[in-house]
Symmetry: D2
Subunit: 323 residues, 4 copies
């Protein structure tokens, strides 16, 4: 890579940051970013999209068959602490905790061990840093081993309730999946929207399907960390101008990999850190895509509230599309 290219990459990045920053827009204390675009109108309008009375899960099952290889993160483990087999064997009689004789009663219980970003998940605004800062100019130093003192995932809880729009580019292109390295452009997105006569409105959640989860499901390989199709860095201005609240994809990192410039995850740097857009990753969009193909309706009520893990830098989420 020549020096001029390197200089040019830095220029590109800094130019996007300058144009797309929302720091201060909702006050210096804001910890929610573009989710602030979701207000009463967005919630009411979203609810008005519930016409058929259908609910679809957008969340990949959390279990040992998930996409993690164990190198950077590992798959969720649900560890039992009491089972039906214990109960049948008489192990719960008497009951624990001084609860007395079982008299026919029994229970099962378990404990969850999981990287918060092992599967379908929202990045918190405390997940990514750039030049020492995170969203709204807060110091990266506010994220300690005690968690995030600012921009934690709990700020999103109950806030991600808005219109979702499915952009299903592989279907439009007649392919099963976009290829790793394919950078989804603004034109691609607008072509999808136009095909369904949809226009982005302030506070929308843009749900982008690449087909890459379908292509790798059950035989994940480097799905969670390797090359992938995804949003182009050059969608940054459009995401900012359209006042999009959240973007979610069926890939591990929203944006295309390898990256288009010589910076790691530059769309995270621009759109998450500076524009404050909520990033949702590894959403399972195949059932939704089939439903939308069937009824021709690509907009829906999107409810995807993360767990209030105090100070968390991400969270698993049970996301639903309601139509």
């Amino acid at each position: 890579m020549t020096e001029s290219r390197v200089a040019s990459d830095a220029d590109v990045l800094h130019d996007y940051i300058a144009r797309c920053s929302n720091w201060g827009r909702w006050g210096d204390d804001d910890e929610r970013g573009a989710i602030n675009f979701i207000g009463p109108d967005q919630i009411r309008n979203a609810a008005a999209l519930v016409r058929r009375g259908t609910s679809l899960s957008l969340t990949l099952p959390y279990d040992a068959r998930g996409p993690q290889s164990g190198a950077f993160r590992s798959n969720p483990q649900v560890l039992t602490t009491a089972t039906g087999l214990d109960y049948l064997a008489g192990e719960q009689d008497p009951l624990p905790a001084g609860w007395g004789a079982a008299k026919g009663f029994g229970y099962a219980d378990d404990l969850l061990v999981m990287h918060t970003q092992a599967g379908t998940q929202w990045d918190a605004l405390s997940h990514i840093f750039w030049e020492g800062k995170m969203w709204n100019g807060r110091s990266a130093g506010e994220v300690t081993s005690q968690g995030s003192k600012a921009n934690g995932i709990e700020n999103y809880t109950a806030r991600i309730v808005t219109r979702g729009i499915l952009v299903d580019l592989p279907v439009l292109r007649g392919v099963d999946s976009l290829e790793p390295g394919y950078a989804i452009s603004v034109n691609d997105i607008e072509e999808c929207l136009a095909a369904h006569s949809l226009e982005i409105r302030t506070g929308d959640a843009l749900i982008v399907r690449t087909g890459f989860m379908a292509a790798r499901r059950g035989n994940w390989g480097d799905y969670a960390g390797g090359s992938a199709p995804g949003l182009s860095l050059h969608t940054a201005s459009w995401l900012h101008e359209k006042e999009i609240a959240a973007v979610a994809t069926d890939t591990w990192g929203v944006e295309v990999r390898p990256n288009e410039i010589d910076y790691f995850q530059p769309l995270h740097i621009v759109a998450l850190v500076h524009t404050g857009v909520a990033f949702g990753e590894m959403f399972d969009l195949d059932a939704l895509a089939a439903d939308c193909a069937n009824d021709g309706v690509y907009e829906f009520m999107f409810v995807a509230s993360p767990l209030p893990l105090t100070g968390g830098t991400g969270s698993p989420v049970s996301a639903v599309a309601l139509k």
Copy 2:
């Protein structure tokens, strides 16, 4: 306790079971129970309740300050695996996983360790057994150390989207909190409903506030496992007849403790195991109660989809009330 009382307790319990069982009602393979009462009409009608465009969280923060004492379950731990302080100290340059030079980029990440029922949570239908069986007559033996082969919490994912109705008895009675041992009766509930001109409809979620979480918040004592106000066993027939899909309370176990008969958690035995009602526990209802008191509207769209923890016997949930 006399022998006749013991016999009588058994009779009471068996009588309720006989009258309230829904086993087989939705087929022998059903793993969802009363959540089946939620269909397209319920979802549409719930969405129609979103009038002001307000979203309220019903979930207690998940952190070390939670209600668990450590004796039976412990509080959630969010353990960091990468922090902003690491990043500022240069620990992330180069980036891990072969991602190259940091060039200003950094990240934080974490891992969650929590009992699935440590805080606000749904019981799965695989959580409770009675005389060898769980919901729909499935053997307790299907819950092994590998998880639930039937009736796991993933069966509720995307399904708990319906009308919620807040029953706020302490407000009606002019007290801060009902006392431990107070058994909430059908009359209590109907009096609350009548005060707001509401009637239960098939598939509703009954959200019952006792004030006990408010009374113990931050100074939990034996909140998670001790005596508590809660639903009377004698609401069982009414829950069954009214075709209620889910019940959630601001206590650890939905039903009154100590129990009214000499069986442990008899309402679980009747209403969860046999009627198949979804039980939600430790819901944080205080903000919702304040909102309802303010606008006088005690019905709302209730979206409370648990994480699809495959085979889980419960799940944390980010529950929202939309009005």
Copy 3:
């Protein structure tokens, strides 16, 4: 495989079980098995082998670079709960737990998440079952989700202190590593012993190096679960007759894989379940091998006491060879 071969495999296995069983030998309540062969003489004699005053670790580091692939077990995770960077950033002032002003003081702390058998480890006698039973005829049903009510790993704590003898067959054969599938025979072992003029005595720990850890170190592949060199099933009678207390190898499963007969891990079935020999796996023997090659002394004091994890089915262990 022909029917007669299958019958023959069953015969072989049952014949070894019949000849090698120690059930009842130390009483019906015994939970220690062949470790009972270690008595005061063994401990004293072992201590007498400490001549140079050298201590060598036989334990592989426990960390994310370990041999597990994540499919069956995952590598150990040490998760920090307090760091020096927190401290330097002022996050520990005041100190937690009411300990007051830091005044210069700081600390780091962490939490371990690991499969007990993820690295260097002892199998407990509750780890393996055969036809419904574990060591000494105890029912497998005594191992519940609450742990082992019998034969738990805590029974070995403080008991594995004896003479260790290193059998280093690859060195004798002039190869770096035995090949996967190589079944180490009694002749192989005795040839090694004879080369160093050693004879097995009651209560010895037989430490068998295959070179396979050295061959795979850092590039583990299927090391933890795949094909491997190891002890032949046909060493079973010799292990029994020699009254060996413990066997440890530098492979994941002590015995050769694939197995020599059509049963999974038949030497576990015979020697662990019935003879009651302690099985140690993934011991890191390379430094010891180099030391023994250097001084020509292949016997040493072996101290390898597992953690008293109450009811555990295995334990990591910090094993040392003292010479």
Copy 4:
């Protein structure tokens, strides 16, 4: 507290630090501290103390009944991933991981979740900081959320093998337990040593019993973090002069609590951070005390090698006394 007292406390502390520091003594790269006092002579001499052939565990069982209250650290959890009850129910046939038909074979397995310092444990030299530094002048900043880049617990592995001497002051004083707040002095220790005609030698491990674990066992209260008997700060010079390698007690923090000067854990600051003495906490010394009272021998071979948890700030340990 008057200003002069505060000044005086600072003077006391700084004076001890100046007199007791071993920084640089074993080179600028040393990560072992006073454990370096243990050499071949110490190991040989320790082995020579094994006369009766007895082995005693000094480790408290690791389980849910441990001393932690959950406020700062929680008790160990051994979570089963496969049980004998699963096996008996046919859940392991076929075996996992492609291992084929069970044909009578079964297994149990588990996963450990524990704070490294929840029970009997060694502090690593990376556990405590003072004025920005840890042992040997290394920056506290070397302890990140990825663990300790210097002074991690793995530096002690295989190194803590030396003579142990039991100082049993409550027996000498004829009490069951020293009282919380009792500061054990050099005179106290020397009186105990004299009673058994023992003298400290370079590299010894000083094992100090207060009786406080016996007093609190099973009814722990604030045992793990509250007031306790323990070593006086004023033993610091003596520990340094005597070239003691390690100190272990039956209390949570080695030194007396409340502290004698207005600094938190000042003996940690002097003896651990500056002298580099290994600190062992919550050692279970009651069986050893009984044995020593019986045979009158208060010296023994002490083998207490921590797990090589790479970068860990502490480790559980299976410590044994061999006599």
